[in-house]
Amino acid sequence: MKAKVFVTLKPSVLDPQGKAIHHSVEQLGFQQVSDIRQGKYFELSLDSSVNETEAREAAEKIAADVLANPVIEDYRVEIVQ
């Protein structure tokens, strides 16, 4: 079982890296892209003995305590068999 964790900056937080990426993308001709924000993606591989509920519980706690800084980031967990 895998837990996929997506960590993104809260909308209110400045993302200069996203802006720099956006600038380059614009230079490439993609004028229709109005904004880019960069986030992080984590894959947690869990033991086969773990069921979906336990996997989600563990992943949510790990995301909240370690992977994301709640002051500046939000997270989302997806469980994949």
Partner: protein, 233 residues
């Protein structure tokens, strides 16, 4: 009195802090390896600058889980002094000992230069030898020194006078041009409610010798030493 300088894998400003306490402050000082869990015997602990755990995940994000940090939290809760410099400030924020967070510099560049900071609160153990308005020239060297927090936290910091240093120009005026990293309200350093924990992005331990460009950092260490002596009475 005894000072401790914590060393995490990746810390690289530990020796400068040790040198300043030993040579300029003239007090006993020891290195504290990050696996240590006993801080008894220390009066103040410095969380130094550098790249603990390579800044992996986020600056300070992994260091906050080092065994020593549980002891640092108890140390702080007991009223003893904790001084976080640069990466140390980042670690203290990640550990929840100080509010807010340090994010990537707004200009994206790693900024390495002397800046001016204005003393906003002279009533802390770290600034008691300074006056409100005192301007110090202290070097910074960071890519993630942009202090940020939500509006509610900012209001609390203001109301409780927890903002200790702000970036300013040489005359002490707080201007956008004097802000090297986009930090909210030019915040360079803050303290906790009890004022025994301070975090600052500039490196006062690199401003204790004229040869290095500024002596202004000495006043911060003198203040802390005085506060420890007063607390012992």
């Amino acid at each position: 009195m005894k000072f401790g300088v914590i060393v995490f894998p990746g810390s690289n400003c530990d020796h400068d802090a040790y040198h300043v306490i030993s040579k300029h402050v003239g007090q006993p000082v020891d290195f504290i390896w990050h696996k240590e869990t006993d801080l008894s015997g220390f009066d103040a602990v410095i969380v130094p600058g550098g790249f603990s755990y390579g800044d992996y995940l986020r600056a300070g994000a992994l260091a906050r889980f080092s065994p020593v940090m549980k002891a640092v939290k108890e140390f702080a809760a007991s009223g003893k002094f904790v001084f976080g410099i640069c990466n140390g400030f980042q670690i203290l924020c990640e550990a929840g000992l100080l509010p807010g967070a340090l994010i990537r510099n707004a200009g994206l560049h790693f900024v390495c230069k002397h800046v001016n900071i204005r003393t906003e609160n002279q009533y802390t153990p770290f600034t008691n030898e300074l006056k409100e308005g005192s301007v110090l020239s202290i070097p910074i060297a960071h890519a993630e020194g942009n202090y940020t927090c939500d509006d509610a936290t900012y209001q609390t910091l203001e109301e409780n006078n927890q903002i200790v240093f702000r970036y300013c120009d040489e005359t002490g005026e707080i201007t956008p041009e004097s802000n090297p990293n986009g930090a909210r309200s030019n915040i360079a350093g803050i303290c906790n409610l009890d004022r025994n924990v301070l975090g600052m992005m500039p490196h006062p331990e690199r401003a204790c010798e004229e040869l290095l460009g500024s002596n202004d950092g000495r006043s911060i260490f003198r203040s802390l030493t005085g506060a420890i002596a007063a607390a012992a009475i």
